[in-house]
Symmetry: C2
């Protein structure tokens, strides 16, 4: 009965008649486990306990809704509910991304549903769209803004010319960002969600540990402005793509063309772009967090379970979209082998021949330059900004090492990946 | 086996293994009725007939896919299949919008599914999102770009400064628009789709005849440019909104703020914006037509049916999202009572006091002016452009009649509705 729990309770009460019109049933919140009273909720005849396992063991309960978050005791609660033959609805991305394989196996054994629409992108029905709405497609790739805090920070940096640290402090004051913002700004939260999306898209087991993760704390105001001048915007994206060599699974700041809808998703909003072989590009947009948007997804899952609850085996859609025995062993591609374009920014001594040395190093590794700009003049050191063509990351790493070793390049090179998202 | 039929056949063949991984079943195209051979398809062992009723009566067939379009013989085919206990998948928006109530009643009687995701917005899973993904919400309103031809024309008019007739001719040459473009440009196709969306959102019977429909053939290059200068874009929208007085159901050109994602949906692409009381605004974007995008939705429906096919009653979700006995009698609001803001353009004699007369007429009907621009000078007649606040259409009609009666107003007033889409 925290933020999302209270929102879920309130949506179930407020929209009870609309939901009954849709399902032909009344959904009753029989019992709630809470540490503190949620002042937004009128509990009525709902039983209240402080013991979460009392709910999981309550024989009158058909569906257990887990909105605690984190690994434990959420995992034990969910497994207890499953063993007791109860369906489970959860918003817990960390739990699913890290322990989903084990949880789904238990659910199959006990013939119950574990639904988790709320775990990704709040109220956007992205899991339903991937598991069902796009089920005729071979998914080629997906790319999403799946952390609202990060998108709020990048939006403010661009719109108002502010610095990362300044906006982060405001986001914390507004309650968008946690006191410890690491999960949000370093991409761990997005990696949890991307791991799940990737399994749903490609039919592979959950492999959170294999996800490449880079945060936005190193994105500077200078990079935001340079991107803008080049016709791009920087977004913190989770990207997963099927290639012949393996599946890309990566979260990092990304330059994307300003005309893409995804580049125009502002503030705390989320959006996921999914490209299927038949449907082409599709996009799903909405609020990625907050009490009622998240509750919208939780209640949709409850409705889904309720619509099938009389059936002997109500697990009509596999937990990860594909049958367990049909999950693919396709490996996650190491980041060194991922191909993408790059934005590079470096400080160079203002001397003849420096750019020639840089372009030579790139050219030797098959990296051609799409755009180059040397900014400012008449100073001893000048910033140089480059956009490259697509190249595997290993080659780029080698080139960056070689360029940084040049006498006339000062300090480290800033590297941000570039994606056109057009196929 | 026309465009969509061929696309569906090919997607089912090409993605057979991916679909089997998702459903645990093989989907076999047992028999096809076709007038002409589709050169893109390798028919293999599929039986071919010219008699569509042979398919509907074939005892080996579980699911009949209707991709003929139009009212007849599609309706008789679908009803025959239903009476024979077969599930039906169709992409036929006209059929569902006009005869859906009767067809769904037959489906309930015979306990079969009639699925029609492909009828609206091609490959975008908008029906699934409304019926299932947003099932916890009371839907407040929705607004969609649901005709690709119209959106292509408006996009070209804006991007290239071209005239309506010129772009329409090109769209016909490219195959986007039919030889008779009436269904597309006059909004009838969009009204079919909006009628269905409105029922799914609000739980009301299909009422195509009550839909207000205005096309884009009267939108001039001048209006497109004026809108742009005011920070808006003109889109041909289907809008449905729940109000205390009734449900709005209307298709018309609409000025929307240029910053909205919907304003940035270009060319033949479709998008639907749905506002729910819990989730807030959500948007669904993708290709609204074409062989394979439409096939994506057809195959998703087939997969949905197949996932439930062993169940005694596999109609887990009501056809119109709400139970038949729970459909609401809420009436459709007559257009005269719909409240919206307006863009007005008129030609006025360049004389002192003319604008004062116009604003007086508006003011007497409670209409205030948000922006006014008198364009050009030093000519005898000048165009005047106005943006008004929100007012019921009946008041605006009266004001327009009174203004057109002024001696110094020449000809008819152009009126385009304005929506901010922000709540």
């Amino acid at each position: 009965m925290g933020t999302v729990g209270g929102g879920t309770f309130n949506v179930l009460q407020r929209n009870a008649s609309e939901i009954t019109r849709r399902t032909g049933r009344n959904i009753i919140v029989e019992q709630v486990a809470q540490r503190r009273t949620n002042a937004t909720c009128e509990m009525g005849s709902t039983q209240i306990t402080e013991d979460i396992f009392a709910v999981a063991n309550n024989p009158n309960i058909d569906v257990v809704v887990e909105l605690i978050g984190g690994y434990e005791p959420a995992k034990e609660l969910v497994l207890t509910a499953i063993r007791n033959g109860k369906h489970v609805v959860t918003a817990n991305k960390a739990l699913i991304a890290v322990h989903g394989n084990e949880i789904f196996a238990a659910a199959r054994e006990h013939k119950v549903v574990v639904a988790y629409e709320a775990a990704i992108a709040g109220g956007i029905p992205i899991i339903k769209s991937l598991r069902e709405g796009l089920a005729g497609n071979q998914i080629n790739w997906l790319a999403g803004i799946i952390n609202g805090t990060g998108n709020f920070i990048l939006t403010e940096m661009r719109d108002k010319g502010r610095d990362f640290a300044d906006v982060l402090a405001e986001a914390q004051a507004l309650g968008y960002a946690e006191a410890d913002p690491t999960f949000d700004v370093e991409g761990i939260d997005a990696a949890h969600k991307l791991t799940i999306l990737s399994s749903l898209a490609f039919g592979i087991p959950l492999q959170f540990d294999a996800c490449f993760t880079e945060g936005i704390s190193q994105v500077s105001q200078e990079d935001v402005a340079n991107a803008e001048a080049l016709g791009y915007r920087i977004k913190h994206l989770g990207i997963s793509r099927r290639t012949d060599a393996g599946i890309e699974l990566r979260v990092h700041p990304t330059l994307i063309p300003e005309k893409r809808l995804l580049a125009n998703v502002h503030g705390v909003m989320n959006a996921v772009l999914v490209d299927g072989d038949a449907v082409g590009p599709t996009l799903y947009y909405g609020a990625g967090a907050g009490a009622e948007p998240t509750a919208s997804a939780v209640v949709a899952d409850i409705v889904d379970v309720v619509r099938d609850i009389d059936l002997e085996n109500s697990t009509r859609v596999p937990s990860l979209a594909f049958g367990q025995e049909d999950l693919s062993a396709t490996s996650i591609l190491p980041m060194e082998q991922v191909e993408t374009a790059y934005y590079l920014r470096m400080m160079a001594n203002e001397k003849p021949g420096v750019l020639a040395q840089v372009t030579k190093i790139l050219g030797e590794r098959g990296i051609s330059i799409e755009a180059i700009e040397q900014k400012g003049h008449a100073t001893e050191q000048v910033p140089v900004v480059l956009l490259t063509n697509r190249v595997v990351e290993g080659q780029m790493n080698a080139a960056i090492t070689a360029i940084e070793a040049l006498d006339d390049i000062i300090g480290q090179i800033t590297r941000i990946r570039v994606e056109n998202l057009d196929g």
